[in-house]
Symmetry: C2
Subunit: 193 residues, 2 copies
DNA sequence: CGTCTATTTGAATGTACTCAAAAGCGGTGG
DNA sequence: CCACCGCTTTTGAGTACATTCAAATAGACG
């Protein structure tokens, strides 16, 4: 049950919860093991769960009309990952969510989360804050994508997500930054240690 | 009071409201006239109002560290405009909101909106949907910024926001697309009618 | 060890920027 | 009403940034 500790800590950092709340939260979340490359959410499916990463590394990505992959988000331990729009509006997902490493997520179903909100109202605030943060992070990324060179974006990524950089293959970082793997390779050469 | 009709229609398209609701909504929103170039929200200020554009054209923009302007959003009649993050979190705004033309906005103060939610609960759903749509629009824009050429982005903008393209100066469209005005000019030459 | 995938390298090309200057346009004052 | 001023848009030359394609090299894993 150690994985649940991480979840509880993650929530407790943001909102106040007591022992009763904690046991209600534990019951609402179900563990799900994922193999490397296993897909948690497909385009076209409707997202029914919020998921917390207890162990491993995942990504959400999108295929554009030329079938190029674009990564929207990476996630490691203590992050939340989803196609938020599909979840919120109950419309077909436009993104995939996939495990990069063997992973363990703690999932709460939409209905179950609604009940949780009734029993632990502060959880509603918790998720509202998560969504707000996701929004502002996205806004910053949009601006950076438009105003910075690939090199600047890469260095920014490196400092911001030091750990992720070491855990995911380079071509995925390129797909996150919106550049080709070849060009990322030449950028990296400049900063070779 | 014609400007209020537009607001009511905008809300009524999304949620069911009766005559009583309408008069409550009318009272909550106050008109504010803006001159061309007048700034409605400054970086550093905390956003206290949601605003609906009844007449005119506005933009929200951001200055990056090289003091370049990047436009996040244009808005014309029937659109909502704000620094949403500042409004939601009550933290200092990172963006400016400015009138491009002489404009009229209908503003509702945060406190007033909270009261409105109690009297007309469906309004809470209305704004939640607005925020969700803003999120997904931003996500699409991020992907496009990374995966499309300037020309593709411009053509996309043109079909998506035909009217805005005709109302705002070209250098602002460049600032929206993340390219230089010179380069936008050469792109346009190719499609000269 | 062999196979498959990921990364690197390099040449040629395309996309977008910088800088400078000219042309166009819109409002204001005389 | 027109002339002028300031701002916006266009044009062009030179350069920087990033891609494509092809091939070589390196790593990971059964």
């Amino acid at each position: 049950m150690q994985e649940y500790e991480l979840l509880i800590r993650n929530i407790h950092q943001i909102i106040a919860i007591n022992e009763t709340d904690i046991s209600i939260i534990r019951q609402a979340f179900k563990p799900r093991l994922l193999e490397k490359k296993e897909i948690l959410l497909q385009t076209g499916e409707i997202s029914t769960h919020m998921q917390f990463i207890a162990r491993g590394c995942l990504r959400s990505y999108y295929l554009n009309k030329n079938a190029q992959e674009h990564i929207l988000q990476f996630g490691i331990e203590s992050w939340w990952i989803n196609d938020l729009y599909s979840y919120l509006t109950q419309t077909p997902a436009r993104h995939f969510v996939q495990a990069i490493e063997p992973s363990l997520v703690l999932q709460v179903h939409r209905n179950s989360l609604e009940n949780l909100f009734k029993e632990v109202p502060a959880m509603e605030r918790f998720f509202r804050l998560k969504i707000q943060n996701a929004y502002v992070a996205l806004q910053e990324r949009t601006i950076n994508a438009m105003s910075q060179t690939a090199e600047e974006r890469y260095l920014d990524f490196r400092t911001r997500y030091r750990e992720i950089e070491q855990r995911v293959p380079q071509y995925m970082i390129a797909a996150y930054l919106g550049i080709t793997p070849e060009f990322l390779s030449t950028i990296r050469k400049k900063f070779a240690s």
